[in-house]
């Protein structure tokens, strides 16, 4: 694992998971914000009405494609590297990239409290690898 090519390959695997996961999370969150409270939709149109509303949303479809790419990147990485390395590294980085992307693309109010939470969870998840 000390070989530069191995380190680069690991970074590329983690980077790929993080990139697709962030794009997928932002697109699905944007879709759900566009649709509104699912509990309200379910009360009015039933569970199938809520499911159809979600599945027929374009942003949701694009988000699922990105999440699927992240999933296959994760499977590929799991088959080459340990869960204890890939899991915490990819997950902890995704907390930070999602906070940044949510602030700029979803215009969420990422205040000091949320930044502190994202960084605390990011550091905590990274520490679990040791």
């Amino acid at each position: 694992m000390t070989h530069p090519n191995a380190i680069l390959a690991t970074a590329a695997m983690i980077g790929s998971i993080v990139l697709w996961a962030t794009a997928g999370d932002i697109l699905t969150a944007s879709a759900m914000r566009q649709l509104g409270d699912l509990d309200v939709i379910r009360e009015r149109s039933g569970i199938w009405g809520a499911a159809v509303a979600v599945v027929t949303n374009g942003r949701f479809g694009l988000g699922v494609v990105c999440l699927a790419l992240s999933f296959f990147s994760l499977l590929f990485a799991f088959s080459h590297r340990d869960l204890s390395l890939i899991g915490p590294a990819a997950t902890s980085l995704t907390f930070v990239t999602n906070a940044l992307a949510a602030k700029f693309f979803l215009h969420e109010n990422v205040d000091h409290r949320r930044w502190t939470a994202a960084i605390f969870v990011c550091v905590g998840v990274a520490l679990l690898a040791f």
Partner: protein
Amino acid sequence: MTFRRYLVLGVITITASCGDTFLSRGMKSLGPVSLAHPTALIHAIFSPWVASGIVLLIGFFASYLTALSWADLTYVLPASSLGYVIMTLLARFWLHEKVSPLRWLGVVFITAGVGFVTRGPSYTDHGSHTAPVRAEGLAAVEPAIEEVRQ
């Protein structure tokens, strides 16, 4: 935040951590997948551990989407990260694994992060045009619309 909504965050927490563990167990049993044979990833889906992991992750995704419809992404993600704490506690007290001091420190950091975010508001209100407000607003005026129609 109602009790039901905290319950949805709990389901996200448990299904995500168990689903990832099942996937890892399944992929390890199949061995390394080569870039030259990417179809092996498709075959992996039908192995029992990977399939069980996928079922759990579908449950996770449904709960996650529900949570995103009434809370911000930057609220849902840290709030549902308690799964790592649960996994560490299970590893120590159920599987009797050795948990290093650094991992316990990680547990403290995650718990503090969850504490920070859950004490704040769960949703950024972008004004009266935001979707949840619009959905609730529509629900409120629907009886009146029905009366007019009759």
